[in-house]
């Protein structure tokens, strides 16, 4: 096997070609921040170590069921596009190499708690000494300053301090947890956004900066409408089920379809769409009531309206029902489960999920370029093998001699 040299996705006309990134990120947010920049052409290197193998590498499922840190499929999805170098940051020499490497990069990404990078000798001031216009994007849970700066969260609980979970659940019931961290991949995207803003600013001014990305502030944007209702009316929103977030559409929900755990989503945003739904149902007596012709009337008729609609929908298959409703101009779609994602004709047509060949010789399914670009051509490769870019980074980029390189490997600094 030929060791890959420079990291970066193959592709053409990619706009971030030539941007080099040191990714000290971890968890789920860190890889996505790096991956986003990588998909767009940046050369991104994960900095990791065999001294403490990234937990993502230990998570099942493994390719062909073989447990190995280079075979975790979800790790390969999350870290797709990133390269990898190994450095043991517990050793002073490892930290020194990390500083030298960061100085060769346009920017560095990290999502430790505030102060951790500084304690590793990799804080903004330290990095700046070697490269005055360096950009460090820090992405802690609640930012680098303020009384909550040291709050400990997982992505799942992060959405709670952003107010999002208070709105999630069946209408008028208690909050129901989102059982995975929506905030993590989204925070990673926002991290890439922050990096790009800093690159823009540096292009304008020649200055770098230490970006203070609070995941809380990034995610709290999602509750804007409910936040404004509190600000304007003092109303504290609770869980809204599948209702329209400002109540401006009825019916608006998830309704049962024929089969076990099969559902269809229906959203009627105006009176004309309601008439389309009535026609699709064959204009039953209850639905042609004049009172239901207006939003106010339909809102007053909840929840009975939703129950009658459900009695109709459950007689139909989800895809067939969505197709019928679409013909009548109604916003409707099947509610997919995970198994459907790989079969659904729309995702298949768009190449949302792709089978890739890992350098170790097995095939695996990850997601592809989830934005389609008309000029740039992105080709996604799975996440890196541990240390796959060590040769290139340490020998070519940092210019270590053969003896230096070998002794760093022997001393488990490059490790």
């Amino acid at each position: 096997m030929v060791a890959p040299g420079r990291a970066g996705l193959p592709g053409e006309r990619l706009p971030l070609r030539g941007v080099r990134v040191a990714n000290f990120g971890w968890g789920w947010l860190g890889p996505v921040a790096g991956q986003t920049l990588a998909m767009l052409g940046a050369e991104v290197y994960k900095v990791e170590s065999r001294a403490r193998v990234d937990i993502n590498r230990t998570l099942p499922p493994f390719a062909e069921g073989i447990r190995d840190p280079d075979r975790s499929i979800q790790n390969h999805a999350g870290w797709a596009g990133n390269g990898s170098i190994t450095l043991n940051l517990k050793q002073a020499a490892g930290r020194e190499l990390a500083r030298r490497f960061a100085a060769c990069c346009d920017l560095a990404l990290e999502n430790f708690g505030p102060g951790v990078m500084h304690r590793l000798g990799l804080g903004y001031e330290e990095l700046r000494r070697l490269r005055p216009d360096t950009i460090l994007v820090s992405m802690p849970a609640a930012g680098l300053t303020g009384p909550l700066k040291d709050v400990r969260t997982y992505g799942m609980s992060l959405s709670s301090i952003a107010g999002l979970d208070s709105l999630t659940g069946y209408a008028d019931g208690p909050p129901v947890p989102m059982e995975n961290a929506y905030a993590d991949p989204l925070g990673g995207i926002v991290g890439a956004f922050a990096a790009l803003l800093a690159l823009w600013q540096r292009r304008r001014t020649g200055r770098g900066q230490h970006v203070d990305l609070s995941q809380q502030e990034a995610i709290v944007q999602l509750i804007g409408p409910a936040f404004m209702d509190f600000v304007m009316n003092g109303r504290v929103a609770g869980p809204i089920g599948n209702r329209h977030p400002t109540g401006a559409a009825v019916p608006h929900g998830v309704f049962p379809a024929a089969g076990t755990d099969r559902w269809v989503s229906i959203a009627v945003l105006d009176d004309e769409e309601w008439q389309g739904l009535v026609r699709a149902m064959g204009a039953p007596a209850w639905a042609v009531e004049p009172a239901l012709a207006t939003l106010a009337g339909r809102r007053a008729a909840l929840p009975a309206l939703h129950e009658r609609l459900a009695a109709w929908t459950r007689q139909h298959g989800d895809y067939a029902l969505a197709g019928l409703l679409q013909q009548h101009g109604v916003r409707a779609a099947p509610v997919l489960d995970v198994g459907d994602l790989l079969k659904d004709p729309h995702y298949r047509a768009r190449g949302t999920f792709i089978e890739v060949m890992h350098p170790l010789g097995f095939r695996e399914t990850i997601y592809g370029a989830y934005v389609k670009t008309s000029r740039s051509r992105v080709e996604v490769r799975p996440g890196p093998m541990i240390g796959q870019n060590n040769d290139y980074v340490f020998r070519e980029l940092l210019g270590l001699t053969e003896d230096e390189y070998r002794s760093y490997v022997e001393e488990q600094v490059i490790f």
């Binding site: 006309r13 986003t36 767009l40 499922p61 499929i73 930012g143 303020g146 009384p147 700066k149 709050v151 969260t153 992060l158 709670s160 301090i161 107010g163 979970d165 208070s166 999630t168 208690p174 129901v176 059982e179 989204l186 890439a192 803003l197 690159l199 823009w200 609070s214 409408p225 404004m228 209702d229 509190f230 600000v231 304007m232 009316n233 504290v236 869980p239 809204i240 089920g241 329209h244 400002t246 559409a249 309704f255 755990d261 989503s265 229906i266 959203a267 101009g329 779609a333 509610v335 997919l336 459907d340 994602l341 729309h346 768009r350 999920f353 997601y367 989830y370 934005v371 008309s374 740039s376």
Partner: protein, 417 residues
Amino acid sequence: MSDDNVKWLDDVAAGGGALQGVRVVELGEGVSAPFCARLFADYGADVIKIETPAGGDCARGWGPFPGDQPHREQSGTFFVLNSDKRSVTLDLARTEGRALLLRLLSQADVLIENNPPARLRQLGLDYAALAPHCPRLLMISITPFGQTGPYADWHAADLNAFHLTGAGSRYCGRPAEPPLQHGTFSTDYFGAYVAVTWGLAALFGRDLAGGGQQLDVSTAEAVAALFVGAQNVGGCAQTGHFDRRTGIGMALASPATILPCKDGFVWMLALETGQWRGLVAAMGNPDWAQAEMFDDMFTRGENADFIYTMMREWTMTLGKQEIMDLVQAHGVPSTAVYTTADVAGLPHLHERGFLRELEHPLLGRLPTLGAAVHLPDCPGGPRRAAPLLGEHTEAVLRGELGLAAGEFSALAAAGVV
């Protein structure tokens, strides 16, 4: 207001917004395209929002409204998504309206839109039609299902997009009940963040890429790939096995759930052994929690019902912030479930200067959400309240396109603007 506007543009130049000089036209409504364009505006881009003369952006009709009295100039959703933009009304069904839009686009770097693809094709404003006139234009299209594929022309709202991702079925709701959305227009917001990020990159490297292009963002695809696909699809492709929602939090391990407390709810998470011991200490070392087998998160998962019952007795004696402060001091990553009121009053956000107040001619002085990211060298964030419908039509068309007074009033009389 037009004087204020000129002043605002000067402020941006002085303050050094990272995107100063970037010119954006927004042809959007609702949440996805407007939020994407707000993120450009927050960092100094000049955003001209095109609205229909007949009522404008649909979010103007969504509310919330003060006192629940509908008024198209007083929608809270519109207010929070459209700060710092200039509103220009144009009837794009008319040839003259489209001609004016093309003139604006010829001066723009970016077009952000979330129209049904068929609508733009009918108007001759799709990317294939625009590209010959504006080869350097970056067109960011954000729709539920994207520009291609069998559902591209489906009618859809955020709800439909969200539930096409598998996120509800897999992660949210009780097993026998409907899958749940994530409490807001969560797919629209996710797609908007994706769009602004790819858009900024495509603009940053426009010359490297060889010119303008269209970014086709499907909000459903972004969430299906990044959120659901990342951790589920690889295994499913290999074995056919996949999981469904439990309604609890985490099926295998515990504690990982939302529990009620005296004044609300808390997200109780303590998976690693050290975190669990910290939680036990925070609870005052109750007898029930001493069993050594409970040091393993999977054993705790098998006994989740018992553990949650016992924990609830404790959480119900305290407030959410008390619990959060106490367990955090013991190294436990559990948090209060903050409500909108908690967020609006949170000392942390106030101390960081996150929440801003903006003056609006009809709504008065109102708080709004600050910049998504704090960049010390170019702070960003909203400066000016969302525009009234068509507030800047004359200023933009006369001031920037150079329409004569007579031309403008003729267009106005004809209902084009």
